[in-house]
Symmetry: C2
Subunit: 343 residues, 2 copies
C-alpha cells in the first residue's frame, strides 16, 4: 500500500520547502541549478506525478469535457464520440462520457453531476424523452452558471447556445428528389414520431421534394414507427403493412438504416426486385447499409465530423471566454450510392 508521493514528501525528504519543489519541477529560473537537479532526480526516482485533482481545484480548470449522449451502442453516436475524442485530445482535453439512455431523469442527473466542477464544458445530444416532454429548464441552469455547452444532432432550437446539426432536411430532400427523378411515382416515407426533431426535419425534406415535383404528400404511404425497442419484430410488422398492399410504393425513403433494411426485407418477401421494382434510400452513418443485400443507398451523416466540430466549437467557447453570438453549424449530408437504387 505504498502511497503516492507528493510534493510535500519530496520537500520533507530533501529539507526544502514545498514551493521550492514546485518551482524546481517547473524549471523556474528562481531556483539554483544544483537544487533543481537534486529535486528533479529525486522526483524522477520516485515517479512523482502531480495530483491532477489538486491541480484542477487550484486552477479552476479540469481540461475535461463532458459528453452526454442518448445511447452508446449506436454507430452514429460512437462515430461522433470518436470525433470528439480526437479533436479534444488534440487540444489537450480529456473526455468524460455519460449516457442518458433516452431518459429525461438520467439526462438531468448527468448534467448536474458533470456541471459541478468536474468538467470545463458540455457536449449534449437530447434524449427522446426530453424532446417529448419539452422540458429544457435544466439548460437554463447551465446558462446561469455560465457552463459552456454545445448541443449536437438532437437539439432544441429554443435553447440559447451553440448548436451543430446534420442537414437533415437537405439530406432528405436530396434523397427523395433523387427517387422522383428516377421516375418513382409513389415514394413512401418511413419515419419516427414528430417529437423526434431529426425525424421531423427529414419529413420536411421529403415533403419539399414532393412539392418540387408538383406532388402532395399521401398519408397512406407515410408511416411513423412508434415503439423502437430492441425487438425489430414490431417495427417489421408496421413496415409490412406499407409493402403488402395491391399497389406497393416504387420508392421508399426511410429516416434511418434500420427501417430501410427492414423495408428491403419486406419488399423481398413480397417478391419485389430491388432496385428494379422498388428503390430504397436510408439515412445514417451505419454499418448495416454496407453489408445488407443488396447494399443500401443512404444519406450519410458524417458523425465523425460532427464530433470534431462540436468539440472545436466548445473548446473555443471555453477558452475564448467570448460572449459572442451563439452559432448553429450545419453539416451537409450527401448520398452514398449503393445497390438499392438505380443509377
Amino acid at each position: 500500500m505504498k502511497a503516492k508521493i507528493t510534493i510535500k514528501d519530496i520537500a520533507r525528504e530533501l529539507g526544502v520547502s514545498t514551493s521550492t519543489v514546485s518551482k524546481a519541477l517547473k524549471d523556474s529560473h528562481e531556483i539554483s541549478e544544483s537544487t533543481k537537479a537534486k529535486i528533479k532526480a529525486f522526483a524522477d526516482f520516485y515517479h512523482y506525478k502531480p495530483n491532477s485533482l489538486a491541480l484542477k481545484l487550484r486552477n479552476q480548470k479540469t481540461m475535461v469535457i463532458g459528453v452526454i449522449i442518448p445511447e452508446i451502442v449506436h454507430h452514429f453516436f460512437s462515430r461522433v464520440i470518436s470525433g470528439i475524442e480526437k479533436a479534444a485530445n488534440l487540444r489537450g482535453y480529456n473526455v468524460m462520457i455519460c449516457v442518458s439512455n433516452e431518459s429525461y431523469d438520467k439526462e438531468l442527473l448527468n448534467i448536474e453531476m458533470l456541471a459541478n466542477g468536474s468538467v470545463d464544458g458540455l457536449l449534449i445530444s437530447l434524449s427522446k424523452e426530453t424532446q417529448k416532454i419539452k422540458d429544457f429548464s435544466h439548460f437554463n441552469e447551465l446558462i446561469e452558471n455560465n457552463v459552456p455547452f454545445v448541443l449536437f444532432d438532437r437539439i432544441e432550437e429554443s435553447i440559447n447556445c451553440d448548436k451543430i446539426i446534420v442537414d437533415d432536411e437537405g439530406g432528405a430532400y436530396k434523397a427523395t428528389k433523387y427517387l422522383l427523378e428516377k421516375k418513382c411515382i409513389k415514394v413512401a416515407l418511413i419515419t419516427t414520431p414528430d417529437y423526434v426533431t431529426v425525424g421531423k426535419l427529414r419529413n420536411n425534406g421529403y415533403v419539399k421534394a414532393l412539392n418540387k415535383f408538383g406532388l402532395e404528400k399521401d398519408p397512406s404511404v407515410i408511416i411513423k414507427i412508434e415503439k423502437d425497442d430492441e425487438d425489430h419484430e414490431g417495427i417489421y410488422n408496421q413496415i409490412k403493412k406499407l409493402i403488402f398492399v395491391k399497389n406497393p410504393p416504387d420508392g421508399i425513403f426511410a429516416v434511418n438504416e434500420l427501417y430501410a433494411a427492414l423495408a428491403m426485407k419486406a419488399a423481398k418477401e413480397r417478391g419485389l426486385k430491388i432496385p428494379q421494382d422498388i428503390e430504397i434510400i436510408g439515412f445514417t452513418d451505419g454499418i448495416i447499409s454496407e453489408f445488407s443485400s443488396p447494399s443500401l443507398t443512404t444519406v450519410v451523416q458524417h458523425g465523425f465530423t460532427m464530433g470534431t466540430n462540436a468539440a472545436e466549437m466548445l473548446i473555443n467557447r471555453i477558452e475564448n471566454k467570448t460572449d459572442g453570438d451563439f452559432q448553429t453549424e450545419v453539416i451537409s449530408a450527401n448520398i452514398k450510392f449503393r445497390e438499392s437504387t438505380l443509377n
Copy 2:
C-alpha cells in the same frame, strides 16, 4: 458571469461560519432546526451544489472509474461500455472513457492521465500495439501505486491483476465442432495474426475441434489477415484467395464478423450457395450478422455482460480493499444460429 455559489458565500451571506453551513446541509444533529432550515432554504434558492472537485480532493475518492479501450466505433466495445456504464451507475460511479486507438503510446498516456487521482480504478483492454511489442511495464507502475484495475477482453496473462475474458477458445471450439458435425470436410479458418491474443485463442479452439475429429490443421485453408484498415478491399482480396480455388472449403470459421461477411460475399461471387455448398460461422456481438444476406450464424460474445461484470469486479476491489487473490472470470460464448449454417 455569475460565479457558482459556494459554502463560503452562504456563510458570509447568513452571518454564520462555513462549518455551520456544511453541517446544516448534511442535516447534522449538532445544528439547531431553525438555522438548519434557514441555511437549507438559502442554499436551495441559489441552487447550491457542492463542488465535486473539492469533495474528491478532500475525500481522496472520485467515484469515477476510467475505461481505456482500443477503439470506440466497434459494436462489441460499445456494448461493453454500455454494460460498464450501467453497473457503475448502479453503484454510484461515473465513467471516464479514453481511446488508445490501438496505439501503445496513447495507452500509456491515457493510463498516466487517469491514474493520477482522476479515477478510483481502471478498466483496460489492451491495444494491438501493446500486445505486439509486449511491453507491459506501465502496468507495474499501476500496481506499485496501488491503483486497482481490471483487464478485459484483450488481456495479458502475465500481468498480476483481475481479468475478465470471453471463452474465445471454447466458442471457437463449439463453432468448428458444429461445422464438422454437419459433415463439413474442409473447414477453413480466417483469423488474425497470432499476437492478437483473442485471435490466437480462437485458433486454438479451431484446432482442438479438428483434433477431436481426428483431423490435422491444413495450412492451405488457414489465412491470417494482416492489415486491418478501414479499407475492406485489401481484406477482401486476401479472403478471395481462399475461396477462388478448385476445391473451395465447405465450411468457414472466421474470428470476427467482418471476415465472415466478406467470406460470404466471396463465396456468393464464386457461385457457391450458402449454406448448401458452404457453411459459415463468425464470431462477434456485431450487427452485420443480423442484416447480411443470408444472415450470419455467429458465436456471440456477450459484451454487455462483460462490461457489467468487469465494473462489478473493479468496484468490489476498490471498495473492499481486500488484497485477496486476483481472479480471472470467463464468460461463456454460445452460438447464435442464423441462415449461414444448416441446422
